[in-house]
Symmetry: C2
Subunit: 195 residues, 2 copies
């Protein structure tokens, strides 16, 4: 049953169902549970589509969306790591996971999908930089609407967010970076960060 | 803070976070909880991208993905209804919800996004028909991998799936329809349906 191209494609879709069980550090704004990497992938793809008018250069927004739809698939094998604490080992494990999972697809399509995953990680193309800005911005938006829940739970300070996450938002989407600078100042005044 | 275009866009993304709390009738393959409409929206968008080589006519797969990213947003206000039991009232409430939520965006973008939502519902364009085939196929794939969990819980018989869901899969993506006919026969032999 897993031999024809369509059967391989369906086996892939069933395998990636596991991303719904990969928990992240943020909670949704109105729910008392942690979010998972599958629902995050949906939200960040839609964030990119919504903020497309603020892309700093002409870019292929459709490829940005593809990058974001697949960017966390390797976490099925490695789990999610707090962005501020990710190691080279975590990334290597995630890459191995991505390779294993995309290999369920027919070979040419597996290579295409893995190339999207690698492009996101390499952060070189305009599309990858915009996609990464969205991926940095999304958990910050949740924190801004939950009194800094994951920042306080994980000892993340305002300076960490500014120097490591907001800087990437700014690099990929300066309009969002400007909006965010004000929002972070406000959040700091309200005590949303670890000290 | 909600006045500039970017602030409106961000308010929209925060509002749609609620889709993570809209529960559907299926459970993920490996988890003991119901899936939500946000993670479903991710999975079905990726299903469309993965099955794009099986699209029956030349179509804009990027628009298919957009349709699927927004297709359930109205359910934030209406909740999810079992496909086999949806009424005209449910649909009207969902349309009102979509209108309310997209209106958080700057007007031109709100109109664009609502047009995507309406295109999916109208089921007229090749893109909408393919998107709807994916939306019908996805819960069936989960059921095939969970011994018919949502079918048995909701009294759905093999004939209901064939005449109402599989027929739409077949109409939008004949390759998937053929694969599915065999899979449903197998599932029936195993007793995955309500009787």
């Amino acid at each position: 049953m897993h031999e024809t191209p369509i059967a391989r494609r369906i086996a892939f879709i069933v395998e990636i169902d596991k991303l719904k069980g990969v928990l992240r550090k943020n909670k949704p704004v109105t729910l008392e549970r942690y979010e998972n990497a599958a629902e995050h992938s949906w939200q960040v793809a839609l964030l990119a589509l919504t903020l497309a008018p603020h892309a700093p250069v002409a870019l292929d927004i459709e490829r940005v969306i593809r990058l974001l739809l697949v960017h966390d698939i390797g976490e099925i094998d490695s789990g999610d790591t707090l962005f501020y604490a990710a190691s080279a080992e975590d990334k290597a494990e995630e890459a191995e996971g991505a390779r294993r999972i995309f290999s369920l697809l027919p070979p040419a399509q597996a290579a295409e999908m893995f190339a999207l995953w690698e492009e996101f990680e390499a952060a070189q193309s305009a599309e990858a930089r915009f996609a990464r800005a969205m991926d940095r911005l999304m958990p910050i938006l949740l924190n801004l609407n939950r009194e800094g829940q994951s920042w306080r739970e994980n000892g993340v300070r305002a300076d960490d967010v500014r120097s490591r996450a907001a800087s990437q938002v700014d690099a990929g989407c300066p309009d969002a970076g400007r909006w965010l600078a004000d929002a972070l100042e406000n959040a700091e005044a309200r005590g949303y960060f670890a000290r």
